[in-house]
């Protein structure tokens, strides 16, 4: 689905070849500062590489209109962006930005359940904790039903139990709905348990690529 060839970004990232499969769960691991966030930002086209090519479904990223691309390949940043307004506003804002039709409250409530938030839709959003904000932002992009989820450490502010539940839900959702999930995670345990593929980044290069699912099933 994604194909990277000789991609360089400043002195931070240097990827000779990388291919990411469609309808799979791909985990990106590596120490902090190794370039994981930069890689996600490249795939979302928030930034462009200095040299090399990135393809999404055989089409070069530079030839796809950025806005259309980002509406299909949505990114969740490590620090959730919470916009002024209540929880409903924050859930709906993704759909508004992507110019998709607004959904009914019942669907919003279903999404809140999915990300394990017990708040009401009219509750203020600024007072949420870091972990709750992250889950709210996750709910927002689930509502957008993108082709690809790019998640930057979606569970970094969560306790182990909530983390397990949320990731499990998300993986199930991805599989059921034929989506692709690309997720940066600090947890090797999560990567080993849920990933089909694991990409390990070291100092801006691909240190290791592992197809877990094949090993798991063979």
């Amino acid at each position: 689905m994604f194909l990277l060839k000789k991609v360089k970004y400043k002195h931070i990232l240097d990827i000779q070849h990388l291919s990411i499969r469609e309808n799979k769960i791909t985990c990106i691991v590596g120490e902090s500062g190794s370039g994981k966030t930069i890689l996600l930002r490249l795939l979302n086209k928030l930034i462009s590489c200095d040299s090399g090519e990135i393809y999404y479904k055989e089409q070069e990223l530079s030839s796809i209109y950025s806005i259309d691309l980002r509406r299909k390949i949505v990114m969740l940043p490590q620090q959730a962006a919470i916009f002024p307004g209540n929880i409903r506003d924050n859930l709906l804002i993704g759909l508004k930005f992507a110019e998709q039709p607004i959904v009914h409250d019942s669907e919003l409530q279903h999404t809140l359940k999915m990300v394990h938030l017990k708040n009401k839709l009219d509750d203020p959003s600024e007072t949420l904790s870091g972990g709750e904000k992250q889950r709210l932002a996750l709910g927002r992009i689930i509502l957008m039903k993108p082709e690809v989820f790019l998640l930057d450490e979606p569970s970094s502010a969560l306790d182990d139990e909530t983390e397990r539940i949320i990731i499990e839900q998300l993986v199930a959702y991805t599989k059921e709905n034929q989506k692709s999930l690309i997720m940066v995670t600090h947890s090797r345990n999560i990567a080993q348990t849920y990933a089909d593929d694991i990409i390990e980044i070291h100092n801006g290069t691909i240190a290791h690529f592992q197809e877990v699912s094949d090993e798991r099933y063979h």
Binding site: N44, K45, L46, I47, S66, I67, A81, F83, F97, M144
Partner: protein
């Protein structure tokens, strides 16, 4: 109506007593501001004398070329003043847009005001053209300075929210809407507030000047109302043009935020 009392040179000098008092107070209190006060007084005096002579010359030799030249000089001074007032780093592109907005915004309002509202003739009559241009340009300058500050500051401090919106597929326009609206709002607020206080909290300078020179207060008020509307229009138009072109300079053609390093 009687005309105005001409001030003799000794009467002018008597007015400087106010500054002498200020200097004394400052010295007694040990506030080290003597130099600034002295320089400011001298500058004001010299600049006004100079402007006075230029205006006398212009009024005695009315010509379209001179009027336009004077207008351009005012625009250039105003634009550089804006760059100086905004204490933030401005990109070249943004500076060009500031200049463009000032020129288009003020001149179109000025022409409407002079030719449609006041109906002066000839169109370049310096007695009307120059003071009114000065008021429109001066107020638009203040307004756009506030707008520029809010826009640039907002784009820097709310960078994460702007990028957060882009990640979700927002266009640059959607992503910066809140900041743009806020910049526009803060730019026109002073003009709106001054309309609200007008006549009660303070008597505006132009009206006071006209009354002092013997014009009937009714005429002075008519002019004041008209100019106030003109000022609001000019500020609004200038700032609208600025914010609608200005936010775009923060994004590249790939709809990515332009970072400072690049």
């Amino acid at each position: 109506m009687k005309g105005i009392i001409e001030l003799q040179i000794w009467q002018m000098i008597a007015a400087y007593v106010f500054v002498v008092v200020l200097l004394l107070v400052v010295r007694l209190k040990g506030i080290r501001r003597e130099k600034e006060i002295f320089i400011a007084t001298i500058r004001m005096t010299l600049q006004l004398i100079l402007t006075g002579y230029v205006l006398v010359f212009l009024f005695e030799n009315p010509s379209p070329v001179l009027t336009i030249l004077f207008l351009l000089v005012m625009e250039v001074f105003a634009v550089f003043n804006i760059f100086k007032r905004v204490k933030l780093e401005l990109s070249t592109k943004l500076k060009q847009i500031i200049a463009l907005s000032m020129v288009i915004g003020t001149i179109s309002c000025l022409l409407y005001f002079l030719l449609v509202v006041v109906r002066i003739s000839p169109w370049y009559d310096p007695q009307y053209f120059i003071p009114i241009a000065g008021m429109l340009i001066g107020n638009s300058m203040t307004g756009i300075s506030l707008g520029v500050t809010r826009l640039v500051d907002g784009m820097q401090t709310q960078k994460d929210l702007v990028e957060g919106a882009l990640m979700l597929g927002a266009t640059p326009k959607m992503a910066s809407k809140r900041i743009v609206d806020n910049a526009f709002d803060s730019a026109i607020l002073p003009s709106i507030n001054s309309m609200v206080g007008m006549g009660i909290v303070f008597l505006p300078g132009m009206m006071t000047g006209q009354i002092l020179s013997g014009v009937s207060p009714v005429t002075a008020i008519e002019y004041q109302i008209a100019i106030m509307l003109g000022i609001v229009g000019s500020v609004a138009l200038t700032v609208i043009i600025f914010v609608h072109l200005g936010y775009k300079t923060f994004f590249n053609e790939q709809c990515q935020l332009i970072t400072d390093q690049d």
